[in-house]
């Protein structure tokens, strides 16, 4: 490690860093704008200047941009030297010429990097007397505000949007002092990752639009460290509340998972928490089908009476979107044999297979950071951008590894972003897609093959067989399949760290099994192969692990013939997972349906008793992400009304029933401990975060509010002069107050308990720099979460495992293969309720290839109908060249598609009386 001297003090720094990274990594303060730890340097803002001296005798030195200067052994530098300080102050003064001086009405205020850097650079006296340049703002859709007058032209937004996230509809226009950052015309931003502009932009140009509707300054927010429930990636978020409402979601840095970025489902999908359909009271359905509110105690008595009735048959349905704790207690309450995972049979068998594959140890399960290190990628049948968006953002970095290699060859440092990009131009590491319909990653893929799920599996099997002929080979491989598989195999064999990605997205077991064969075969060739499965929900893997991959599933229950006295449904809308005919006929056998959930969904609306469940923002819970990482999520606030965590409901019910099954379990932490004790696979979950007894160095709980949350004491001053007592948190080490540990120093509080990021002089999220062991790297107090699935040495004979190869897909008497098509906005149950997300959700559809449309006699905007399990499903037709022939792609989770998820095939005809109901919100990227 080279030694550098900064203002007379010697430090050891990383030779691969630029000076800015190195100096910030040492904990020194130096202002910057255009550099970003994930995006490198371009040298446009000139804010990070320091003086570099040639040698000890050099008194004058030379002004250099620290972000554009490599670390060199023995470098002598000064941050404090007068010319450097004067220059940095002048940069701010010049940036401020046109900047509005109205921080009090700016939504960035209080967490503004420009404010912070202005103070740091020491500029306070304005000399400019002229007029300011002004710009027109644009409408950018429901997610982001645009206030161009606040722009300091650091170029971060376009670099992030275009270069990093692969977007095409945000650019810089014009030149000189009139550069403009926006779209070519007003319109909805098309990138799935646009929301990160809120944090990438160091000023108030791009701000969170849903937050502006009910705006609160960062310092007045009450926050908690939470985990996104939008998909199985497990991105870390900081969720924030005021006046009992969720106000916004911000990124919470985790170097192994989401890094600095979220997807827009995650950032804007929390709106359901405030939704008008939220169930807030306990309710009992009366004879006329209306819910009568009852008190919490009355409800507990009713539930308990039902469960305790002599000879009562009680079953329970768990949920992949509920925490481990809630699922565990539910199983405990009714007994393992009466617990059903809540996944459909089809889904459960696939996820069981995935879990079994992960346990073989046959291939690594890369974290998102490790994904970015792969040198070749094969995606089999998973629309990653729409099912597991954050992974797609990582893959956009993975394909840049080729450019990094090229840069290394001619010694261009990797942080020299523009130079690396100019050198490599369009050169990319290989990414191969085999998908049933258009995929957003096609622009970075070197080979895209369109195939339905069965045919996708065949390609996978063929690839594995070509790599290692001990793996099964499809018997009737066509020449085309053979050629394609051979070229993909050779791409993968040329790599050192090939990555195979698949998942439950195509609802096809063979695809999942084929993907494992490819990864294992590569491992056999001594490749450091990685294997990622995207699973549908935030805790799909968790509920599966809870019963070691062999719990009963929803279909087992629905197909049974037993009469049931009480069925308890935990956070699960059954109509999304099975056909309505099957559910309704089963409900005919259920005397009492008890639903514990957040929203008044179709299942809740047919329940006898409804118990209001807390959302992720209002309660604790442990979730297991796609890689088997258990992460604890904490409540930002305590909900009003009867709402409480499902786990708390279950504890209360057990208490009321007086069952011995729960032993001494009364507290959340005890539930987690019980999970660890009862399940070998989950024995690590207690380590996901410290328990409620944790106290900071000064013996304090951790404050969810900032030390500046001065407003709290005045919040109800218009009603009463007495400040109500703050709720006490017995469940976690966090406190609902600004008193306690909140001036958090790096390493002082475990990262998994850090509610928001702040450091003296660093009010924006960029303060995270102060909490990283090295700039842009792991957190000082290691990254949150604990990995439950060890990469053990592979079990032998993997090649004998998966041998069930589907036949080639052909037309079968006019029936077509049904393939789910996913949408970041709309396919996930809860986020779809958020207003901003709903606005971007497309109409439900059946998408077909033009050839198929011709055969069926339909065109765009017509309707198609199919009879499935006694239901008639009609949806609008979308005709697209990019749908595999033999397939009908349907909008998963949007409109009446729950009817379809069970079926592999369907027979379609034109819906004669079709009338399109909603105006289409289909944004270009969905087509």
């Amino acid at each position: 490690m080279p030694t550098i001297i900064v203002d007379g003090i010697s430090y050891q720094v990383d030779a691969n860093d630029n000076l800015l990274e190195a100096l910030l990594g040492l904990g020194l303060d130096l202002p910057y704008f255009c550099w970003h730890p994930s995006m490198g340097s371009i040298g446009s803002c000139r804010q990070c200047a320091v003086i570099q001296y040639q040698d000890e005798d050099d008194q004058q030195g030379r002004l250099v941009m620290s972000c554009m200067t490599p670390v060199t052994e023995g470098a002598i530098l000064s941050i404090d030297a007068e010319p450097a300080a004067e220059f940095r102050s002048a940069v701010i003064e010049n940036l401020m010429i046109n900047h509005p001086h109205d921080c009090p009405v700016c939504e960035e205020g209080g967490e503004c990097h420009l404010q912070d850097m202005t103070v740091m650079a020491g500029h306070s006296m304005r000399h400019y007397k002229g007029l300011k340049t002004t710009h027109r703002n644009q409408y950018l859709g429901p997610l982001l505000n645009h206030e161009m007058n606040r722009c300091i032209a650091c170029y971060r937004c376009v670099r992030y949007y275009q270069d990093y996230a692969g977007g095409t509809d945000l650019a810089v226009f014009g030149s000189r002092g009139r550069v403009y950052f926006g779209r070519h015309e007003d319109g909805v931003l098309q990138s799935e990752f646009a929301g990160n502009l809120v944090e990438v932009c160091p000023t108030g140009v791009f701000t969170d639009k849903p937050l502006s509707e009910r705006y609160t300054r960062k310092w007045d927010l009450q926050s908690a460290p939470a985990v996104c429930t939008g998909c199985s990636m497990g991105c870390n978020i900081s969720v924030a509340e005021r006046y009992g409402e969720l106000r916004r979601i911000h990124n919470r840095y985790n170097s192994e998972v989401n890094g600095y970025f979220l997807c827009d489902r995650g950032r804007f999908g929390g709106g359901f928490v405030n939704h008008e359909d939220r169930i807030r009271r306990c309710g009992v359905r009366n004879a006329s089908g209306v819910y009568d509110p009852v008190s919490k105690q009355q409800m507990l008595e009713k539930v308990s009476a039902l469960i305790s009735a002599a000879g009562s048959k009680v079953v329970a349905i768990g949920s992949p979107r509920a925490s481990l704790e809630s699922n565990h207690l539910l199983g405990k309450l009714v007994g393992r044999e009466n617990f059903y995972s809540g996944l459909s049979g089809r889904e459960q068998s696939i996820i069981n297979a995935i879990y079994a594959i992960q346990q073989t140890g046959g291939a690594r399960i890369p974290t998102l950071r490790e994904v970015e290190a792969a040198d070749a990628v094969l995606i089999l049948g998973e629309d990653v951008t729409n099912t597991s968006a954050r992974l797609a953002l990582s893959l956009r970095q993975t394909v840049r590894n080729r450019s990094k290699e090229m840069a290394n060859q001619i010694q261009i440092p990797l942080w020299h972003d523009a130079a690396v990009r100019k050198l490599a131009q369009d050169e990319k590491s290989p990414l191969v897609l085999v998908t049933a319909s258009e995929d957003r990653l096609e622009d970075v893929s070197c080979l895209t093959h369109r195939a339905g799920p069965d045919d996708t599996a065949r390609i996978g099997y063929a690839i594995a067989n070509i790599i290692d002929n001990r793996y099964s080979r499809p018997a009737d491989l066509t020449d085309n399949e053979q050629t394609l598989a051979a070229s993909i195999a050779s791409i993968l064999k040329n790599a050192e760290k090939p990555l195979i990605i698949s998942g439950s997205g195509s609802l096809n077991l063979a695809v999942v099994e084929a993907a494992a064969n490819v990864a294992w075969a590569l491992k056999g060739e001594n490749k450091d192969s990685g294997l990622i499965y995207c699973v549908p929900e935030c805790n799909s893997l968790g509920v599966t692990m809870l019963h070691d991959g062999n719990s009963n599933n929803l279909d087992d229950l629905l197909s049974g013939s037993d009469d049931i006295d009480v069925a308890i449904v935990l956070e699960n809308d059954l109509y999304r997972r099975a056909g309505s005919t099957a559910i309704n006929s089963w409900l005919g056998k259920v005397k009492n349906l008890v639903v514990i959930d957040q929203l008044d969904n179709p299942t809740a609306s047919v329940a006898t008793l409804v118990l209001p469940a807390a959302s992720f923002a209002e309660t604790e819970g442990t979730l297991v992400n796609y890689e088997g990482r258990a992460q604890r999520s904490f409540a930002a606030f305590l909900p009003q009304g009867d709402i409480q965590g499902s786990w708390q409901w279950l504890l209360d019910i057990a208490d009321q029933v007086g069952t011995q099954k729960f032993g001494s379990i009364r507290q959340f932490d005890q539930v987690t401990e019980d999970i660890a004790a009862q399940n070998a696979a989950l024995s690590g979950v207690t380590k996901a975060a410290p328990d409620a007894s944790y106290r900071s160095g000064a013996g304090q709980k951790i404050a969810r509010m900032t030390h500046r949350a001065s407003g709290r004491t005045a919040m109800v001053a218009d009603v009463t002069m007495y400040e109500p007592q703050q709720p006490v948190d017995n469940t976690s080490a966090l406190a609902f107050t600004m008193e306690g540990a909140n001036l958090i120093k790096p390493g002082e509080v475990p990262s998994s308990l850090t509610p928001y990021i702040w450091s003296p002089g660093w009010n924006s999220n960029q303060a995270i720099i102060k909490f990283q062991a090295e700039t842009g790297g792991a957190l000082t107090d290691s990254d949150p979460g604990v990995r439950l699935i060890a990469t053990a040495s592979p079990v032998a004979d993997l090649h004998t495992r998966h041998t069930t190869i589907p036949a080639i897909t052909r037309h079968q008497g006019g029936s077509l293969q049904l393939v789910p098509g996913y949408h970041l906005f709309g396919s996930e149950e809860l986020s779809a309720y958020s207003k901003a997300i709903a606005e971007l959700t497309p109409r439900g559809y059946f998408a077909v290839h033009p050839d198929v449309a011709g055969q069926l006699g339909v065109a765009d905007h017509d309707g198609l109908e199919t009879q499935i399990n006694g239901a008639n499903v009609q949806l609008e037709v979308v005709v697209s060249e990019s749908v595999a022939r033999q397939c009908v792609v349907y909008s998963y989770g949007i409109d009446a598609t729950g009817e379809l998820v069970h079926e592999k095939r369907g027979t379609f005809k034109k819906a004669e009386s079709w009338e399109s109901s909603r105006p289409s919100n289909l944004i270009m990227s969905d087509r």
Binding site: S44, R46, V91, N94, S175, R176
Partner: protein
């Protein structure tokens, strides 16, 4: 006195066609070199000749070429770009070559491209040069017919195509790396160096960018040798140079003269001296982006290092003269407003700093200046002007006329502020 660059040019300014060009020895250098001498041999001659770039910075051409990797196993493209953007105010020399003797540029490009083994050449030309564009295209097509361009040139196995690319019209496009971005169809922002274009240039491939005049010298060097070229200069530097003068002189124009020609000779002999009733107060020696020099510097020879030592730059060697009846504040305001308008908008000091300076200068010029304005100008001058403070050389060049005017013509600024008006009107 030898004038290799202009010797073919005609009084009526009509372009020299290929046959006429060849009849006076044109393409002899190509014929004797391509496939006959090695690239290394050509490189050596150019190095020995001490040809310095005529685009403004005066960087030795041979040295620049020698940084191009000559890796025979690398099958990718290499590029040669002729910088014909010529948007520097007061500069009109490359135009002369391209309009009146375009084959001189093409021949120089073939030799330069051969030296670095480039297979594609571009002429990046200012859009207003309609006439030159037409003549260059004609010349290129004539060369294809003759076998001087295209595949397997003169049976040597060497291939070269040259394309004329018309600029979209920004001053910054003349900066060599902004030029490359522009040529790629991207925004004309300069690139940070290193990496230098010689290693990673156009589309990430090794690329040389040279000024038109620099390239036009190459065939003469190859024909007559390095010593001959050196002997053309009468001072420290080699060769002849297209010097020019604009302003209130009797005969503004451009002339080919030896390097090292004294400034006084340029002004008094070639430009015919100042117009009657006007006196010389100062001059920008090498285009609008160089520091003022004054009468005291008239006896200096036009050599790169000499002018540098005097506190300015030789730049393009095309002088703009300030006379005693023109307001220096107004002149500087005019210059700064050009550069503020032409800033690419990438880096803060230039994008934000120049418009501020422009506004302050305007206020002073119209009589609204205040004494503190001079401090602002001085501070902004330091902020914008020091090399390294900005991402490229546009901003330092843009501010040089101001900082030097504050040195030499300070009393004019003070008068404007004191009297609240411009005394030249």
């Amino acid at each position: 006195m030898e004038t290799p660059l202009t010797k073919n040019m005609r009084a009526d300014k009509s372009p020299v066609a290929l046959s006429d060009y060849m009849s006076t020895g044109g393409y002899a250098a190509v014929t004797k070199t391509i496939g006959k001498s090695s690239p290394a041999e050509v490189l050596q001659v150019v190095k020995d000749s001490n040809l310095r770039g005529r685009g403004g910075a005066g960087f030795p051409a041979g040295m620049k070429w020698s940084f191009v990797p000559m890796n025979e196993d690398d099958p990718g493209h290499k590029y040669l770009v002729a910088n014909a953007d010529e948007m520097e105010p007061g500069t009109f020399k490359d135009r002369l070559i391209m309009e009146q003797d375009p084959h001189q540029l093409i021949e120089g490009m073939i030799l330069a491209a051969y030296t670095i083994q480039a297979d594609v050449g571009y002429i990046f030309i200012r859009a207003e040069y309609h006439y030159a564009i037409r003549e260059l295209k004609k010349a290129i097509s004539a060369c294809h017919d003759k076998g001087f361009l295209g595949k397997n040139i003169l049976d040597s196995g060497y291939n070269l195509d040259i394309h004329v690319h018309v600029s979209a019209g920004r001053y910054i496009c003349g900066e060599e790396t902004a030029l490359l971005n522009s040529l790629e169809g991207k925004r004309a922002h300069p690139r940070a160096k290193p990496p230098f274009p010689q290693v990673s240039g156009l589309w990430g491939r090794p690329t040389i960018v040279n000024n038109v005049e620099s390239l036009a010298c190459v065939s003469h060097i190859v024909n007559n040798g390095a010593d001959w070229f050196k002997s053309l200069g009468i001072g420290e530097d080699s060769g002849t140079k297209l010097f020019g003068i604009s302003g209130r002189v009797k005969k503004p124009g451009t002339w080919e003269l030896p390097m090292g020609t004294p400034i006084r000779e340029l002004v008094e002999v070639h430009a015919g001296g100042m117009q009657d009733g006007y006196k010389l107060r100062g001059f920008l020696p090498g285009g609008a982006s160089t520091d003022f020099l004054t009468e005291a510097h008239l006896d200096l020879p036009m050599d790169y290092d000499v002018i540098m030592k005097a506190g300015s730059r030789m730049g393009t060697g095309q002088m703009i003269i300030l006379d005693d009846k023109t307001c220096p504040v107004a002149m500087v305001e005019n210059v700064v407003s050009f550069f503020a308008r032409e800033s690419c908008g990438f880096c803060t000091p230039c994008r934000e700093g120049l418009p501020w300076v422009e506004k302050v200068l305007h206020a002073i010029e119209v009589g609204e200046g205040v004494p503190e304005d001079l401090q602002i100008l001085e501070r902004q001058g330091r902020f914008i002007g020091a090399v390294g403070n900005t991402h490229c050389a546009l901003a330092p060049g843009a501010i040089e006329p101001l900082t030097s005017a504050l040195k030499y013509f300070r009393e004019d600024f003070e008068q404007h502020i004191r009297d609240k008006k411009c005394s030249y009107q």
